[in-house]
Amino acid sequence: MEANIAVPSNSKDTWSGGSAKPFGASYGKMMMWFFIVSDALTFSGFLAAYGLTRFKFIDSWPIADEVFTHVPFVHGEFPMIYVAIMTFILIFSSVTMVLAVDAGHQMKKNKVAWYMFATIIGGIIFVGSQAWEWSTFIKGSYGAVKTTDGKVLQFVKDGKQIALADFVTGERTDERVQHTRKNGLWFEKEETISTYSVDQVVNAYKANPAIQVRTEFMNVDTKKKTILSREDGIAELAKTKMVVEGANLHVNEYGNTIFADFFFFITGFHGFHVLSGIIINIIIFFNVILGTYQRRGHYEMVEKVGLYWHFVDLVWVFVFTFFYLV
């Protein structure tokens, strides 16, 4: 390391940047800040790309609070509630982190350890919530159909969206069953077959005059998706290619597939940051318990992981706004 440093130094702190302290900040803290700045630019690149794509499809973008309406263990529709709870958990874990830093300044080892512990627990709850939200999104809530020209058609009754299971009856007509390895074709696999076949859905629609088709097209002035008349619905349904249940990187029952792509990518990237933050926090937590920083005489390491943890919270504040609110 010495060979890389222009200023000759025999002192022991060469590894941490020498004794020179530009801006009065230590080497480690400064580098953490510069990392955070570059990471902030990465995240803003992703969110700006999300913005570009959203403007590109502004009249057919899914309405976020129709998508994220679930709360664990509770039935019913609660738009935004769970995302708000997640935001609170993360902000609160940010508070316990800064309290740990504060206790570190006062050299109170036990307090630092307890606050770090609370931070780690908060982080784990947050990542768990995100995993739950992903699985709910992947599973989907209503089901829809996709046409040959790539549009997603949903079904409504009295203006409210209803699930395929609520009106589709009977047996599927194409007699398709999922291929499995044990019934032949062991070398092949196929994608999951939807619960209902296309014909079955179309016939159920024709048989039930109360059902209407809702397109992705949004009236920009009223922020409402268009509901088709019965006749237009039949015309649109004639183009149906597949039944969609849930969301993945290729199809999305809630609307534009690229919305799902951005959701998985950006919240996934953020979730990965939270995960690595938890791991780093755990390492520092054990160091605190072992008394490493007490012996060192300062808790700057806690401050540095604290910066990273607050940054993760900072990013979430923006993700929350631009994915769920705006």
Partner: protein, 112 residues
């Protein structure tokens, strides 16, 4: 570090209170979506402006108090904040304008 031995606990809890209240307001507005704010406004709706401004307020609270930017040397703070703010505004402006252009070009080609 000048702040070495004094405790900031009270301030931290106060900022937490403010951040929580802002989040509550955001979520409340996001759920009820008052019509007057929802459907009109300059550029985007008033509601979106409120969300963006409140978000920036939250970001300020986190960066200044929790990340302790307020205690850093002036020019250290500036090389962090100015760099990020300038580049992000630049990027976002260009990309949003391009997105709107793409919409104007593509939307006449889509039949609903």
């Amino acid at each position: 570090m000048a702040h070495a031995h004094e405790s900031n606990t009270k301030r931290i809890w106060m900022v937490f209170g403010i951040l929580s209240v802002i989040t509550l307001v955001e979520v409340y507005l996001g759920i009820i979506k008052p019509e007057a704010l929802h459907l009109n406004g300059p550029g985007t709706s008033w509601l979106n402006w409120i969300f963006i401004i409140l978000t920036l307020a939250k970001a300020y609270g986190i960066a200044w108090v929790f990340m302790h930017l307020e205690g850093e040397k002036k020019w250290f703070r500036r090389c962090i904040v100015w760099t990020a703010v300038f580049l992000i505004i630049y990027l976002v402006t260009l990309l949003l304008i391009e997105g709107e252009y793409l919409y104007e070009t593509l939307s006449p080609l889509v039949k609903w």
